[in-house]
């Protein structure tokens, strides 16, 4: 019998609505999986891979001139003449950049104050051998077409290095998964570890799926930082799940004789609910600050983490523990609660 105190405090009966939570998870995950399959069929990879993994060169320039798509078309032909075929050229939103630059110009950067457009050029890996420095060729073409510019960044990854980085990243991801499950199996029990793994897999899948969708819609590419974000999300998801599991472990030690495991899970989730939400809120606050105010370079990285923290909190409250309860009640006496 549930004690009056515990029943009063239960805000949600998580175990009772287990099918609802599973349903919501499916709704969240399936579009991403569809996008990943679609993307694999069309582009041969589930997400749009950035130059970190494919190899290539990314150049970014700030121009004092307002550039149009027409300008880009003409410069494309010039690139072809110097042997750079099919570069991906994007004019980026210079507004946000401009405002910030105007502010920083006060400090001492006069030249930067005039940036009106920012363009990014992505090509195959440009050789920098001997006198054949292809990046210099790009610079020359741009200078002769649009006048002087401020070089913002160059990022180049050799083709063999790209595959190497990709392999390393996947290896790191799998190793982290294995290490976390091993730790949980050691500190808790194997089935706790198993369900934490399912929850984190769920979270990683959601984030990857969303980025697959972003890739299809907005051309968002994933890079090494994205892998870092997924790993952090995985760490955080487990972090959240552990807090709930820790409570279940503690409660079942004292309450196991009086309550069914389902009730213990319910009570534990509700006891940790305030903490789960508050912690996620504080992390989300810092991440949102980074997202809106931080640098452009880390924006996608932060977005991946925001999505991950959100889904991680959801899965630790509604999935990991209810699945554990379903699993355990199947083994023990059946409860007539299934909806």
């Amino acid at each position: 019998m549930t004690s009056p105190l515990l029943r009063d405090k239960n805000i949600i009966d998580v175990v009772k609505f287990k099918w609802l939570w599973i349903g919501i998870s499916l709704v969240l995950i399936i579009p991403g999986i569809v996008a990943m399959i679609y993307s694999t069929v069309i582009y041969h990879s589930p997400m749009k891979l950035g130059i970190d993994f494919t190899g290539g060169t990314l150049l970014q320039y700030g121009f004092e001139k307002q550039l149009t798509t027409q300008d880009i078309t003409t410069v494309r032909d010039d690139f072809k003449k110097v042997g750079i075929e099919n570069p991906v050229i994007q004019i980026e939103n210079a507004d946000a950049f401009l405002k910030k630059q105007a502010a920083s110009a006060k400090t001492n950067n006069q030249k930067a104050a005039n940036i009106k457009s920012v363009i990014s050029i992505r090509t195959r890996f440009l050789s920098s051998e001997k006198s054949n420095n292809e990046i210099n060729k790009v610079n020359d073409v741009l200078r002769s077409s649009f006048g002087s510019f401020v070089p913002l960044q160059v990022s180049a990854i050799g083709p063999t290095l790209g595959t190497e980085l990709f392999k390393n990243a996947i290896f790191a991801l799998l190793l982290a998964f294995a290490a976390i499950v091993a730790y949980l199996a050691f500190r808790f029990q194997l089935d706790y570890g198993m369900f934490a793994l399912i929850a984190l897999f769920h979270d990683a899948l959601f984030v990857c799926g969303m980025f697959s969708i972003f890739g299809l819609l907005f051309g968002t590419e994933i890079d090494s930082l994205f892998i870092t974000a997924v790993l952090t999300v995985v760490g955080f998801s487990v972090h959240d799940t552990i807090v709930v599991f820790d409570r279940i472990r503690e409660n079942s030690r004292f309450l196991a004789k009086k309550m069914s495991f389902n009730d213990v899970v319910n009570a534990s989730v509700n006891q940790t609910l305030a903490r789960s939400i508050n912690t996620s809120l504080t992390v989300l606050i810092t991440l949102l600050a980074l997202f809106f105010l931080g640098g452009v370079t880390t924006r996608d990285f932060v977005l991946a983490m925001i999505l991950g923290i959100f889904i991680g909190t959801y899965s630790s409250i509604f999935n990991a523990s209810t699945l554990l309860a379903m699993w355990r009640s199947k083994g023990a006496k059946p409860t007539p609660k299934a909806a």
Partner: protein
């Protein structure tokens, strides 16, 4: 009580030391924040070189360092990475493309003579005289034509070789090859015994830049193995400045919002958590400076994320303390129980973060490494501050006895009186955390 005084003095001592470190030690900022180039060079195997040995890498590193110095930029770093790679970091460089030209080139200077090949065609054949025999190269200009040229001074050994070679080659051309490209092929008029020679730029002559580059490269020495640039990351100072300002702002705003949230929700303990948070930031920053951690954009993101995790420890503790108070516990026991019970959660959850960060640090690229390092340092320090700083301050502020003003914890009076009856009836069980 005595313990708490010791704890408090330790904390104050740490604050003083940390602030001293923060003021005196410089912050190491990454190239993505100050602008600069980071290049990865990979030694390439050739038909002659089937295996890259550590010795080759040593001399490659030495040659690259000399070349970088020739560019004249301060604080460059050349590091070994893996078996056959070098990482070159050049801060605040205005034209990274020029620097690259200096690095990848083998810079082999060769003197060749003409022989008749198999198919009756004249071919250039190596004479054994090369850049190794050159003592010094300088830029000069031809007094008659005014064209730029490169003057070469041979070593003692080199001068002998050159003298002998010119003796045999009188009336014949001798070619000078640089990086496999024919520079000039003057016909030797008479033996040259003074150990000096000059390279002119052929019919068009050298541009000054060209001559200067050749001189720098010849003086720095040829690379023992060809090296190729396989990765480049160059950030212009404009973007760097932009990033650093944005990160600062984001960090401060994030911190301020979190602090406000903590006070709004947890009241007095929230203020204590905020103090702990500020101290946490000071300690973490001091540790970054001691190690020293090079702060990159990703590193700052890791640090800001660790602020979130540091707060989590406090939230876990406060939620638990509140529960204990609701169960009618006295302040002293409630605070202690809150800490003890929350600790397993904090420990286990932070351990998984530490595990993931360790893996990232071992396998990641430099960006990822920066992130993992700051996050792991942050997590470790956050455990320390939550347990020492927060606990000490909680006891100091609230003392012991019954909680007289539950609103300080954001609790209502009736929540407490209601549950204290349980403790009256069943104190032993309540101590174990049984809430029935």
């Amino acid at each position: 009580m005595k313990n708490r005084k010791i704890m408090l003095s330790i904390i104050i001592g740490l604050i003083v030391v940390s602030i001293y470190i923060i003021i005196t030690k410089p912050t190491k900022l990454g190239l993505d924040l100050i602008g600069g180039s980071r290049l990865v060079l990979e030694a390439q195997k050739t038909p002659q070189i089937s295996k890259i040995t550590p010795d080759m890498m040593d001399s490659l590193q030495f040659a690259i360092e000399k070349r970088i110095n020739a560019i004249g930029v301060a604080e460059t770093v050349v590091q070994r990475a893996g078996e056959n790679r070098l990482i070159v970091e050049i801060p605040s460089i205005s034209d990274p493309q020029k620097a690259k030209e200096y690095l990848g080139e083998t810079a082999s200077l060769e003197f060749k003579e003409q022989k008749i090949g198999l198919n009756k065609q004249p071919v250039w054949v190596s004479t054994g005289l090369s850049g190794k025999d050159v003592k010094k190269a300088t830029v000069g200009s031809d007094p008659t034509t005014g064209e730029w040229k490169v003057d070469i001074e041979f070593t003692g050994e080199g001068a002998k070789k050159f003298g002998k070679l010119t003796q045999t080659l009188v009336g014949k051309p001798m070619a000078i090859f640089f990086n496999g490209e024919l520079q000039s092929a003057p016909v030797i008029q008479e033996p040259i015994l003074g150990g000096r020679a000059q390279i002119t730029g052929g019919s068009g002559g050298f541009q000054f830049e060209e001559a200067k580059k050749m001189v720098d490269l010849v003086n720095a020495g040829a690379l023992p193995v060809p090296a190729e640039i396989i990765e480049e990351n160059s950030i212009g100072p404009t973007l760097g400045l932009d990033s650093i300002q944005k990160s600062k702002l984001a960090g401060l705003v994030g911190l301020a919002l979190v602090m406000l949230f903590m006070i709004a929700y947890y009241r007095v303990p929230g203020i204590i958590a905020d103090v702990a948070l500020v101290l946490y930031s000071i300690f973490a920053f001091a540790v970054f400076k001691i190690i020293p951690v090079t702060l990159t954009l990703a590193g700052i993101a890791g640090f800001i994320l660790s602020i979130g995790m540091a707060v989590d420890a406090n939230i876990l503790i406060f939620e638990r303390t509140k529960e204990e108070l609701r169960a009618g516990r006295t302040l002293f026991t409630a605070i202690n129980a809150g800490f003890d019970r929350a600790f397993t959660s904090i420990f286990d959850s932070n351990m998984t973060t530490i595990i993931t960060c360790t893996i990232l640090y071992m396998l990641g690229t430099s960006i990822i490494k920066g992130f993992a390092l700051t996050l792991v340092i942050g997590v470790v320090i956050s455990m320390f501050t939550a347990i020492t700083v927060t606990k000490t301050f909680m006891h100091l502020v609230f003392g012991s006895g019954q909680l007289k003003h539950p609103e300080l914890f954001g609790l209502k009076k009736e929540q407490i009186s209601n549950s204290s009856s349980f403790e009256d009836t069943n104190p032993r069980k309540a101590k174990l955390g049984v809430l029935d």
